[in-house]
């Protein structure tokens, strides 16, 4: 015991359990999957784990049209979803900030989607957009707008929109709640001063409110970026990548290649692309957050 005490400083000891577990569950498996991505490993043929194929998986990936479609779609999906969530969240926060009463109740209601499992959100929107029993078609028919049953999740365009809507429904409230917290913590003096100096509401918003909110925006983005891949759950239950692969995201493609086609080597090569994508998003927003903190000088 004395030996350990003299060798290991308290912070190392305190962090030991965390790093041991993360090494066991994340670091070692990822090294293993990096190795696997250089083999032609197929789940059905255990021996193929030792079949070194060099960069072949990656070369195939580069010329794989399905992969690039899924990759591009994922990128577009994330960009559109995150921007939409931010803008809508900001609008909702500004609206609620203007309310004179009931803010607490509304904030509680907005926590609702946060507690939902992504798979549950997916199911919920699968049900709502179902062509026969769905709420949307029921409403359209009852209002007499149209008699045809619109196959929302079968048409490629509307299926993608439905998935986007599920994603936005789930994540916008987080942005709204965090930005509302920012708005509420904001000092009122600068706004009053600007109004006295003749700024119009837009100028006040653009030059005072928005800069003040930026750290909160980046916190929301940073928290959100940790979990971008949860769209997998929604797509899995809503369309499972269909129709004809038109809603396939990178993550569903990985699952299909790895588990259904049992091409583990290839799937691991793909998953490295997805990991890099996630790391990029996270690093980007955490940097922005750090920069925003520095310029705010610890005010926020």
């Amino acid at each position: 015991m004395r030996f350990f005490r003299s060798r290991l400083s308290p912070p190392i000891l305190l962090l030991m359990p965390a790093f041991v577990i993360i090494a066991l569950v994340v670091a070692v498996p990822l090294l293993f999957s990096l190795y696997t991505s250089f083999t032609g490993y197929r789940l059905v043929k255990p021996d193929s784990l030792w079949q070194w194929v060099g960069l072949r998986n990656y070369q195939r990936l580069l010329s794989d049209v399905d992969f690039w479609w899924a990759f591009g779609r994922t990128l577009v999906f994330l960009t559109v979803a995150l921007n939409l969530e931010l803008v809508l969240g900001l609008c909702i926060a500004l609206l609620i900030d203007k309310l004179t009463a009931g803010q607490r109740v509304i904030r509680t209601i907005m926590m609702f989607p946060m507690m939902f499992s992504p798979i549950l959100v997916g199911f919920q929107f699968k049900y709502i957009f179902n062509d026969n029993v769905g709420l949307v078609n029921n409403a359209i028919q009852s209002l007499g707008w149209s008699d045809v049953t619109i196959p929302w999740l079968v048409n490629p365009v509307t299926a993608n929109l439905a998935i986007l809507m599920a994603e936005v429904w789930m994540s916008t409230p987080i942005f709204a709640i965090l930005l509302l917290a920012g708005l509420m913590a904001m000092p009122r003096d600068p706004i009053e001063a600007a109004k006295v100096d003749g700024c119009n509401p837009w100028q006040v918003f653009r030059h005072i409110t928005l800069p003040y909110l930026m750290p909160f925006v980046y916190i929301a983005m940073a928290i959100r970026s940790l979990d971008v891949a949860r769209a997998y759950d929604m797509v899995k239950i809503m369309t499972n990548g269909g129709p004809a692969g038109r809603t396939e995201l990178l993550w569903t493609l990985i699952a299909r290649t790895g588990y259904q086609d049992a091409r583990m080597g290839m799937a691991n090569a793909m998953s490295y692309a997805s990991i890099l994508l996630s790391v990029y998003f996270t690093v980007y927003f955490f940097r922005k957050l750090a920069a925003a903190r520095r310029t705010m000088g610890g005010v926020a």
Binding site: Y127, L226, K236
Partner: protein, 281 residues
């Protein structure tokens, strides 16, 4: 006059937003208590004419007509896995958060960066190698295997949140306690822990919600009733071409209610946890 007109417009807009947030969930809840025939009815029945518990009886295996899905068992698995991984993640998160907030050591920033990066790995990407290794060492389809993975998912975020809260507590407080004869250990439990309680509570809630709701990893690492969790069990209802809507809705209600209750109990801490833990860190 114009003022009150504007106020009503804002209220109306907020009402629309709240409706969009609430209606999907309410629709699920209503379907859960609906008669199966009503789902297919034309013209649609909006509010259930007869509220019934049949769907819950059916999925809990209490009715003869339908073969039950072992929902009670899934529920138990979910509780065991989520509670264990949450408690452990909070303990380890407190240790880690304290280390980051209170000590200077070499490689601190690098350690923190890698910790956060480990959280960003998409569940499905992580599931591939974990699945391969777990099946070799016999951890597939065990509670322990899933708990271990969820621990790794939860630790980075708990450390991040708790670290932010510890940092807000002035160092002089615990130093004063130590001057007065407390050990550092005693000072932690008497000073820092009570002050950071709300941060620790919110870290716990987030860890619980993550474990309770996770699907991508659980769907690959669990196989049977031995360890299947509720979100994975939800997929039991989707056969190739047919979906048991009322059954699924009843199960959805069973999944959401514990999360709902827990979140409402500690909702005060939740927002504080997210904003202050994050901004001030």
């Amino acid at each position: 006059m114009e003022r009150s007109w504007q106020r009503w417009l804002i209220r109306f807009a907020v009402f629309i937003v709240m409706a969009i947030i609430c209606i999907p969930g309410l629709w699920i809840v209503m379907t859960a208590f609906r008669d199966n025939v009503e789902v297919m009815a034309r013209p649609p029945v909006w509010i259930p004419e007869r509220w019934t518990l049949d769907n819950f009886r059916a999925i809990l295996g209490m009715s003869e007509s339908q073969q039950g899905i072992p929902v009670a068992r899934y529920f138990l698995n979910s509780v065991i896995i989520s509670v264990t991984s949450t408690v452990l993640a909070v303990l380890i998160g407190m240790m880690g958060g304290y280390a980051f907030a209170r000590y200077r050591f070499k490689g601190k920033n690098v350690a923190f960066l890698w910790l956060m990066l480990s959280r960003t790995v998409p569940g499905i990407s992580l599931s591939l190698p974990v699945f391969m290794i777990w099946s070799r060492v016999g951890l597939i389809d065990t509670d322990f295997g899933v708990i271990l993975v969820y621990l790794a998912l939860n630790i980075p975020f708990t450390i991040w949140l708790i670290d932010g809260f510890f940092r807000q507590i002035p160092l002089s407080l615990s130093e004063a306690a130590q001057v007065d004869g407390c050990t550092r250990w005693q000072a932690f439990w008497k000073i820092e822990f009570p002050l950071a309680k709300s941060g620790i509570a919110s870290a716990g809630i987030f860890a619980f919600l993550t474990s309770w709701n996770e699907f991508a990893l659980a769907s690959q690492l669990t196989r049977t009733t031995a360890s299947k969790t509720l979100p994975v069990g939800l997929m039991d209802f989707t056969a190739q071409f047919t979906v048991d809507w009322t059954g699924m809705c009843a199960m959805a209600v069973i999944i959401i209610v514990p999360a709902l209750i827990l979140t409402f109990i500690v909702q005060k801490h939740l927002i504080a946890g997210l904003t202050f833990g994050g901004v001030k860190g």
